[in-house]
């Protein structure tokens, strides 16, 4: 893919940081507002797609490393399954932090309320882990397929 015109690149520079931040907002507030790990991760990964479209895969690959994304993906998943394992004293996937008063352990006000960040037990932690995983997984998919497309096009032209 070739890079697109200067207008697109400038707008991308302005916007992609905000997209990533909005993605993280959706991830972190997953237990209070609509959204969660998957949705937020997909939003943040759309910033990568935007970069790829406007700059082309050759330039994007220089500052968005596939290896780094793979490592974050594996880390996110491992954190997720380890969080599930930690409940194993009772059952797998037991929400061992909810309503304990510790980390994210406040009891929620029953009924409609304004939301307390510090509730939800392991749910916010899992949201972050899954968000990290989805963000980097989609990033890897987009990057790898773009470089594969590069190859196919080369073959087409030759």
């Amino acid at each position: 893919m070739k890079q697109m015109s200067k207008i697109v690149r400038t707008i991308t520079n302005l916007v992609y940081g905000f997209i990533i931040i909005f993605g993280f907002y959706v991830i972190v507030h997953g237990h209070l507002t609509p959204g969660g790990g998957f949705q937020g991760g997909a939003i943040a990964a759309s910033a990568f797609a935007l970069l790829l479209v406007s700059y082309g895969s050759l330039i994007t690959k220089k500052f968005l490393k596939k290896e780094f994304l793979s490592i974050t993906e594996n880390t996110g998943l491992t954190v997720f399954i380890v969080l599930a394992f930690l409940g194993l004293g009772i059952t797998f996937f037991y929400n061992f932090l909810a309503n304990t008063g510790g980390w994210f352990g406040n009891t929620a006000a029953i009924g409609p309320n304004s939301g307390d960040m510090n509730t939800g037990g392991v749910i916010p932690l899992m949201n972050i882990a899954v968000g990290l995983e989805v963000l980097s997984a989609l990033g890897v998919i987009v990057l790898v397929m773009a470089s594969g497309a590069e190859f196919t096009k080369k073959k087409e032209n030759s």
């Binding site: 237990h31 609509p34 969660g36 596939k66 909810a98 939301g115 749910i123």
Partner: protein, 88 residues
Amino acid sequence: MKKIIFGIAFILFFSFMVISALNMRPFGEPVFSEMDDYFIGNAQVETGANNVVTSIVFDYRGFDTLGEATVLFTAVVGIVALFRRVSK
């Protein structure tokens, strides 16, 4: 020949689906909702999360979410393996 067989199979399948749609309960009026009433009533007490959907995704049906994350991981590993020479 092949097209005729496929056509018959397709019509059969489609009519099955239409019958099932006509037999479905009316839209917007769930008959049974015991499981969902439990979730709506108890999610806040049991998990402390305001968002009932998230509490289902990560607590009541957390194992599905692990499976789904695994599917995404599998697809990524598969794609990277498929393009392993090209992407270098």
